[in-house]
């Protein structure tokens, strides 16, 4: 595969070699284009700022990075405001909740919050308070979605979250979860174990983050099971940053493997370690990778084929680096995610229905 500038850039960030960049001669325009497409431009800008070379970049490309930093800052402000608002609403009913994904990264200001852009807020409540949470949120300006009966049933029956809610005024989308993995694919996932190790937020009783290790595992599940590869490289970069921050620095490799086994998430963890290491040069020790490979259970597809699909899907879908078959790879991974989620007799009618809607130009979830 031809080297991709954005991926080379991220690898040199990880290696701490960014300061050697020749700021006057680097192909900034290409980096801006690829990183904008991959929704990584703000993160790239932040890395440049941290490496102290932003000021050396010629004015025109520098302006794009500065603007991307502004976007990230505004995004973080808006996210934190949503979290405060949710806290006010749910706290009033004594409903505990855990922040997930981007909103958790930003609230806890961890390494994956760096230049992280996203549009949805994700939270998890205990399954026993799901109905109460939905009711009080709907009463407080979070509208239920207008999904049709089929989609409503699909979510409520098979998924680990209810249909997305949307704020009446701010238009923010809220995903309300009761687990991190669809019950249809993993019927007895022990979500209560996530609560046992969750970290309480400072000065806000009832608000939690997943433990560092669980945050990584959730990120891995999300990326490798949910099949949304439009932002594949961004999500892989989140994993890379968190593995470096939480695992590498504390030498918690064994703890990570054990926890994955305890939660039954060995397979997504293996993929996370394997692909962060291969694509972004995350320093995963060889014996850890081998151990992760041994302990992963059931495989859905042969490794060779998955390599082909994943490695293609992590390359940004930009005309300057797009690999042949990238679109097909993303589509197959999308099918795969549904295959993992659902038994065949449910999957087939579901995909046929989605395909039909797509042909008619209607949007489904």
């Amino acid at each position: 595969m031809k080297p991709v500038l954005l991926i080379e850039f991220l690898r040199s960030c990880g290696a701490g070699e960014l300061t050697k960049t020749e700021a006057q001669r680097y192909p900034w325009e290409l980096l801006i284009r690829q990183s904008r497409r991959a929704n990584l431009i703000s993160r790239v800008a932040l890395f440049l700022q941290e490496a102290g070379i932003l000021d050396d970049i010629p004015a025109q490309p520098r302006q794009h990075f500065l603007n991307a930093l502004r976007i990230a800052k505004a995004n973080a402000r808006a996210t934190n405001w949503e979290v405060r608002d949710l806290y006010r609403i749910l706290r009033g009913q004594n409903i505990d909740f855990i922040l997930l994904k981007g909103s958790a990264y930003i609230w806890s200001e961890n390494s994956a919050s760096k230049g992280r852009l996203f549009s949805d807020v994700d939270i998890m409540v205990r399954e026993s308070s799901l109905e109460d949470a939905e009711r009080v949120l709907v009463h407080s300006g979070w509208m239920g979605s207008t999904l049709n009966g089929y989609d409503q049933r699909y979510y409520r029956q098979w998924m680990h979250e209810i249909p997305p809610l949307q704020h009446l005024k701010r238009q923010t989308t809220l995903d309300l979860h009761h687990s991190i993995i669809p019950p249809v694919s993993y019927p007895d996932f022990p979500a209560e174990k996530l609560w046992q190790q969750a970290i309480p937020a400072e000065d806000m009783p009832g608000l939690f983050m997943l433990s560092h290790i669980d945050m990584i595992l959730h990120s891995a599940v999300h990326l490798f099971h949910e099949g949304e590869f439009d932002q594949g490289l961004r999500d892989l970069s989140d994993l890379d940053l968190m593995i470096r921050e939480y695992i590498l620095d504390g030498d918690l490799w064994e703890g990570l493997l054990l926890r994955a086994a305890e939660l039954g998430l060995e397979l997504p963890l293996y993929y996370a370690l394997n692909y962060t290491q291969r694509v972004l040069a995350t320093p995963v020790p060889e014996q850890i990778l081998q151990k992760a490979a041994r302990q992963r259970g059931r495989r859905h597809l042969p490794d060779g084929l998955l390599d082909l699909l994943f490695l293609a899907a992590f390359v940004p879908d930009h005309e300057t680096c797009r690999v042949r078959g990238g679109k097909v790879a993303r589509f197959l991974l999308f099918i795969r995610s549904h295959w993992i989620k659902m038994p065949w007799h449910l999957l087939f009618p579901h995909l046929v229905r989605k395909g039909w809607l797509r042909l008619r130009g209607e949007n489904s979830h």
Binding site: A74, R77, A78, N80, W81, R84, D85, R88, D203, M204
Partner: protein, 84 residues
């Protein structure tokens, strides 16, 4: 830490920007002054005393005004016990 609210007074009006919510509000200058005092931690009887001393209003008027303003500022997210 910089103040969470930014105030721009013009004549008898004031525009207030909330750094947390990103919202902007247009208030009569007196109401904005009261908001400023509240965010500085001046509340209850102290606040009422300040208003009577600095503006020509009665005790009852001051009491009513501060309590109704406090309520509406709270609902707008301009004041909150958790960050004041």
């Amino acid at each position: 830490m910089p103040s969470l609210l930014a105030f721009q007074f013009w004549d008898d009006e004031c525009v207030v920007y909330n750094r947390l919510s990103g919202d902007t509000h247009l208030l009569p200058a007196l109401h904005a002054e009261i908001l400023q005092l509240i965010t500085e931690g001046i509340r209850g009887d102290n606040l009422i005393a300040r208003l009577i001393a600095e503006h020509a209003i009665s005790h009852d008027e001051a009491t009513e005004l501060t309590s109704s303003l406090y309520k509406s500022y709270k609902s707008l997210g301009l004041v909150d016990s958790s960050w004041n």
